[in-house]
Symmetry: C2
Subunit: 127 residues, 2 copies
């Protein structure tokens, strides 16, 4: 039985690993037979190898991900809102995202769907 | 093609109708063949009649729903965080929820899943 504490741990470890561009740490959260759809509506990546390719494809982009609300959890499924700031030489961009993870009995992600689109993305002003 | 503007309209109309306990207005957002799962993991209500029963079952409870973040939208699916405050003679309770709606071509909800649980519910102090 997956606990709420594990769900919060998964969300916050994901935020930290994304912000550190530590793709190996991200992949430790995934089950072998996981599927990923990021953003929702795009081609689904099936299996840990395809998902690893996806994250390593993000490369050296400077990303900071911050959770912006509580982790909602029901029946081993979890969703949480966060903001992702991406910085490059051309300036900074922010995206508002909600991720949906389904966890397996071991507390690993077996399905990941990321909800975001151009409407919740825009330039970010450093404060 | 469902627009982002329609998704925001659906979310905010839902918040207003829930806060007014105007179940007829809530039901205008649903397609005939919609399904509802609230909370995720509970018995799925199939069809507009079963969904109508669900909302009317909430009854006269004093509810205030407020969206707490942007509507995330991708491929006619939408998710948004909100807080629901329920007041009764015994005091007030708040629940943090994220709803997931899938919209049909007419911008009506064909699937609704509500993510919440005891871990994101608790007493609410009037400020």
């Amino acid at each position: 039985m997956v606990t709420y504490e594990r769900a919060v741990e998964v969300a916050d470890t994901y935020m930290q690993a994304m912000s550190a561009q530590d793709w190996a740490a991200v992949m430790e959260l995934y089950a072998e037979d996981a599927v990923l759809e990021d953003p929702v509506g795009s081609e689904v990546k099936i299996g840990k190898l395809a998902i690893t390719d996806f994250y390593f494809g993000i490369g050296e982009t400077n990303i900071t991900c911050t959770r912006t609300g509580t982790v909602r959890f029901a029946n081993a499924e979890m969703v949480f809102p966060f903001q992702c700031i991406m910085r490059s030489e051309d300036g900074a961009m922010k995206i508002d995202i909600i991720d949906h993870f389904i966890l397996n009995g071991e507390g690993l992600i077996i399905q990941m769907r990321a909800f975001w689109g151009p409407e919740t993305a825009g330039p970010y002003e450093e404060s």
